[in-house]
Amino acid sequence: MSVPAKLPRWAEFGLLPFINLTVALLLSGAIIRIMGESPWNAFKLMGAGAFGSQDSIGYTLYYATNFIFTGLAVAVAYHAGLFNIGAEGQAYMGGLGTGLVCLGLGHWPLWAVLPLAVLAGAGFGAAWAFIPAWLQARRGSHIVITTIMFNFIAAALMTYLLVNVLIKPGQQSPETREFAPGAVMPAMHELLAKVGISFSATPFNLAFGFALAASVLVWFFIWRTRWGYALRVAGENAQAAVYAGISPPRIIIGAMLLSGALAGGLGLNEIMGAQHRLVLDFPGGAGFVGIAVALMGRNHPAGIFVAAVLFGALYQGGSQLSLDLPKVNRDMVVVIQGLVILLCGAMENLFRAPLAAMFRRKDGE
């Protein structure tokens, strides 16, 4: 294995992601130019659309909440040396768990429903990740392929359930009835109103708090516990882990359970917080955004938070952009997402090697 060139911490977590993002934005700017719009104008509109008002900030953070959950999911698996492409399917199933609790126990008070909804979301997500994990650990089936297959199987299963089983009787569109008020995640503007702060009504909700709590827990788990240490060792070098008495199969299964549980958290925001019912395809690609977020955030919860807010801003700003510039639509954001994954993930050596050489020269080695 070629060892990636070492960089100082600030360059690793600050400079390199910044360069990657800048290049991704420059390339997208070039595409906007080709389409006959001014890139500068487009980015300005996007910035204003994402942060210009309370409304837009609310939406930005609401999108960011989804991406924190999926970003953490990808990162935990990554630390164990696994590439989890299945966050999309795990989030889909996790949302099903949360949704079933909200549908079934909606007449209970919120303080009783909420913990169960969290547990069900995490549990369903973890369960969906368990099968590919077990197959990788015990039968050596490539987890990238199996998690892709499980995304499709989850999509088929959810379509079946929503069309044939859970659909609200007497309606055409495949979605469930709305949750009872007791099973709705409190919206941020309502909570802020209670302490005397007025904030626009947006889908931004308490699930953001859960996402932050999950970030802290993931940080503590990976860098401050024995278990997290074992996970990182197994991810760095499975052979060394075996000599240290760590069982890689157990790490694989444990890491994927945690990864799936985190992805399952998306349902708290999207289903319990925003939609208030189960609908088709509610993850909407957030599982794949999670890959970009984790890569750009260097698989660290703090970096993931920043990257998730950035992608939240891109999604919110992008939908604003399509209203103002008729030639540019929201798909432009998906292009930026792909470029970020390419530059931060697959081509990171492109800038890493020259940067490392520059720092070596400065240190006078």
Partner: protein
């Protein structure tokens, strides 16, 4: 007689669904046999289907569309190659990145150029599409059910790309197992160090492999937008690239078994369309979703070793560097 006609039509539909799958699966075969995981199949196909439809719409020639589709898919393949071979980047990440990028880029450019909400204009002019070729006396043969109908529906009545795809299977098998290039390709996917020691460039071989993959994905994408339908629509591939990858694994990275897997998967697809809402005696209505999910479930079972065993090329996913 009714059942017989139904079966013949079902098989003909299977062949039409299988063609792009098979093209993409064979594309993946060349790439993966050289040691490069090909998660970019979906993106290369989608890019090609957009480029082909766009160029065919503007120039009025399906052949120029095919050329544009191939050029686009090869360009995308070279991005993957540059990231994974030259810069030794993560192959899974590179494939995902290209797929996501194209998923955004195709409708973006489509909107800017044609102003149709991300689609390309309808291809209805003469020569803008690859249309079905009727073999001699096919119309007359239809009168006699057997073997006439079989001849008219199954052998005749497909477009050029379908026939090309069918020739491609023996051709790929010959290239892979009977030529020097094929031998080297298989070797570089199993043990690149040995190939390097023999004085053959690992990187050059792998670049050749991803370019072949690009060409075949280009044809597959062109098929989707200019043969199977008339124009590009958003997310046109709808997971076919991943289904092709599953077929490749199901076919154990070999041409003939991959043909079998593609036909099986395409058959389930054609069957699902036929069985939509149909009540079967004794069984009731089979949910279409279950039939559509079958290829993925089967592939997982195969990967788990419950039905046969699929062994990937040994060096797959591992970037090769001389210094080690």
């Amino acid at each position: 007689m009714e059942t017989y006609t139904l079966i013949v039509l079902l098989l003909a539909a299977t062949l039409r669904v299988a063609a792009p799958l098979l093209l993409a699966a064979l594309a993946g075969m060349f790439s993966e046999r050289s040691g490069i995981i090909d998660l970019g199949l979906e993106g290369k196909m989608l890019g090609a289907s957009f480029a082909a439809a766009a160029v065919s719409a503007v120039t009025g020639s399906a052949w120029l569309g095919l050329g544009a589709g191939i050029v686009t898919a090869v360009a995308l393949a070279l991005i993957i190659g540059f990231a994974c071979i030259t810069h030794r980047g993560n192959q899974v990440v590179a494939g995902m990145a290209v797929t996501i990028m194209v998923a955004g880029l195709a409708p973006t450019l489509g909107l800017a150029w044609f102003n149709l909400g991300g689609q390309t204009p309808q291809l209805d002019g003469p020569g803008q599409r690859f249309t079905a070729i009727s073999w001699p006396w096919a119309q007359a043969a239809r009168e006699a059910p057997f073997p006439g109908l079989l001849y008219a529906e199954l052998l005749s009545g497909h477009n050029l790309i379908v026939y090309f795809t069918l020739i491609l299977v023996p051709l790929s098998a010959w290239v892979l197992y009977r030529t020097r290039f094929g031998l080297r390709l298989r070797a570089v996917g199993e043990n690149p160090l040995a190939v390097d020691t023999a004085g053959i460039s690992v990187n050059a071989l792998r670049y050749q492999a991803v370019i072949i993959s690009g060409v075949l994905c280009g044809v597959a994408g062109t098929y989707l937008s200019t043969a199977a339908s008339s124009g590009f629509v958003r997310d046109m591939t709808a997971g076919k690239g991943y289904l092709a990858l599953a077929a490749l694994i199901f076919g154990k990275w070999r041409p003939w078994p991959t043909l079998g897997a593609c036909l099986l998967f395409a058959f389930t697809d054609a069957l699902a369309v036929r069985l939509q809402g149909v009540t079967l005696p004794g069984v009731g209505v089979i949910p279409v979703q279950f039939i559509l999910a079958l290829p993925y479930v089967l592939t997982v079972l195969l990967l788990a070793g419950f039905v046969g065993k699929a062994v990937a090329p040994k060096a797959i996913g591992v970037p090769y560097s001389k210094e080690k």
